[in-house]
């Protein structure tokens, strides 16, 4: 997660319960912030006043106030079961969190740090993506083979877009129309048109377990971590082919590079 001023990349260490701040260009460690419990996923609210961590193992979401430099704990919000991914509303009033084990989507009011509502969405919801204009929430259903489209205003699943088994996480393709979603079980990436809520294509021939993605600044290559294959892959979007793989360490998860195409707000950067 990049800090709002772009000066640091925050890497969450959920085993040693701290955040590691790294120079986003050189990779040099700048500092460690300790006693941040079980930070599985992170996010800054669109107004940069709140920093939220989802504690997957501890069944909790921790909300911190952010003053541009320091984090001050506002509240620890118990949230069963297994909170994992998050996104925000554009007005920064709400953080949405998927609850993997209970199959729910929760909405938390940031100002009061209280749970506004929870709704069932399906088996093992994971990644979240807010469509532009805050119209719908797209939810990657890792225990199913679709992306759930949620009208969060009405708390209803209004559509399911068939993708592939294990729909997991999202990345907008910065063309005003498309978002990519990884299908971690079947090891493909689906391209969705979020204006029509339709799938328009698949990228196949990948290594096992595509997870997180990043888009190059020129929008020509999509980079992806292969969670179960210890590699990062580079996909040429014109041909939709895997053109390169890079060996990394065990179980790669998040992915970031400094020169990348913008992430559409209010989705966490």
């Amino acid at each position: 997660m990049i800090t709002p001023d772009g000066s640091s990349l925050i890497v969450a260490d959920s085993v040693s319960n701290d955040l590691i701040f790294v120079d986003p260009r050189s990779g040099k460690v700048q500092k460690r912030m300790e006693n941040i419990e079980d930070p599985y996923q992170l996010g800054f609210s669109p107004d940069h006043k709140w920093f939220v961590t989802a504690g997957l193992r501890l069944d909790r979401v921790d909300i911190y106030k952010y003053d541009g430099h320091d984090l001050t704990l506002a509240k620890r919000v118990p949230l069963g079961k297994t909170p994992s991914h998050m996104t925000f509303s554009s007005d920064a009033s709400t953080v949405f969190v998927t609850l993997q084990d209970s199959g729910e989507l929760a909405a938390i009011d940031l100002a009061t740090q209280t749970v506004k509502w929870k709704m069932p969405v399906g088996n093992t919801p994971a990644g979240l993506w807010m469509t532009p204009g805050d119209r719908e929430l797209l939810v990657g259903m890792t225990g199913e083979d679709d992306v759930a489209v949620v009208d969060w205003h009405k708390q209803q699943v209004i559509k399911r877009i068939q993708t592939g088994k294990g729909a997991h996480n999202f990345r907008n393709l910065d063309d005003g129309k498309h978002v990519a979603v990884t299908n971690r079980v079947v090891s493909t990436i689906s391209i969705l048109d979020y204006t029509t809520l339709q799938k328009v294509g698949d990228i196949t021939g990948l290594l096992p377990g595509p997870d997180d993605m990043e888009l190059s600044a020129d929008r020509k290559t999509l980079w992806v971590t292969f969670r179960f294959a210890r590699h990062v892959g580079v996909i040429d979007l014109a041909s939709r082919k895997l053109i390169d793989t890079i060996v990394v360490g065990r179980s790669p998860h998040g992915l970031y590079f400094a020169d990348r195409a913008p992430v559409y707000a209010p989705n966490p950067d």
């Binding site: 085993v15 040693s16 319960n17 300790e34 006693n35 419990e37 079980d38 504690g55 193992r57 501890l58 069944d59 909790r60 620890r76 297994t82 993997q100 084990d101 088996n123 093992t124 890792t142 225990g143 088994k165 294990g166 079980v185 090891s187 096992p208 377990g209 969670r227 179960f228 294959a229 210890r230 065990r250 179980s251």
Partner: protein, 329 residues
Amino acid sequence: MITEIVAQLDNVVSTLQTLLYVDVVQPIFFKVGLMGYDEDTYDALYWVIIGVLEILATFAILRPLEALRPIETWQDRKAVRSDVFYTWIAKLGLINLTFFFLLQPLFNHWQSLIAIYDIPNIDVDSIWPGVTDQPVVSFLIYLVILDFAGYWYHRWQHRFGVWWELHAVHHSQQQMSLWADDRNHFLDDIIQAAFFAALSLFIGVQPSQFVVLVALSNVLQSIQHVNAHLPVVPFLDRLLVSPTFHRRHHAIGYGHEGTRYGCNFGVLFPWWDMLFKTAAWNRLVEPTGIRDQLPVPEGFARNYGHGVWAQQFYAFGRIARRLRRVASA
């Protein structure tokens, strides 16, 4: 060179891990709706594969030594068979799996409470920044801490009667071999897992994160139980628990009797036995087992069970009798 070998071994294990997960485990999990456990299971598979490789490696290296240079020669190896079963259960992670489902949520909850109520814990890595956060130093510190904890855990297993009846499953083996290390009462295994999970709440890191540390410990403990004459290296046996040192711990009349309820409790290092005066350096080979297993009049011919389930079940009977004696006293 060692780094290169470890890296290659890591590659092999990781490749197996991917194949096993993607082709076997994940399809089953998806079908039965267990995808919430997919990431933990993928990570755990690495351990399982390491466990299987450990078994194969220790068997390949130690079994020939037992055949060529045995301490004891047995006509019938039937008594060893149950230990083989225990070893596969332990190394395939079934004990850890049981702990994960039964107790891990409780420990996660306690960890949460510790943070909420600001209960201090020791962050070992930050004791001496720049030094103790170096991976090798950190590894060695955790190795020593966990071994110290293991020493006291082991002493308590011998000291407290009810607990001893569980631990007696391990000591009841009269044919000690490379397989004996994992011969334990399953309840004692769970208690031990809980003990180290509790410890990890206060030192900040789960032992399971140190794959190399635990794998190393397992291999050394298999060597400690081996039924083979191994050369004694005079200085080395003051550094690491040797097979001779540990065999004394299993010896009838020496390993679990006396004012300290035994001797040579160390897991990897004999240092704690040296420090707390429970070390016995006598190298004379003695039969292993528990005194009351011996025929009358030396013992009571007590049967600790010949198969795994009998061994597990009989422990509860011994505990019940012990508690009845205490209640009637």
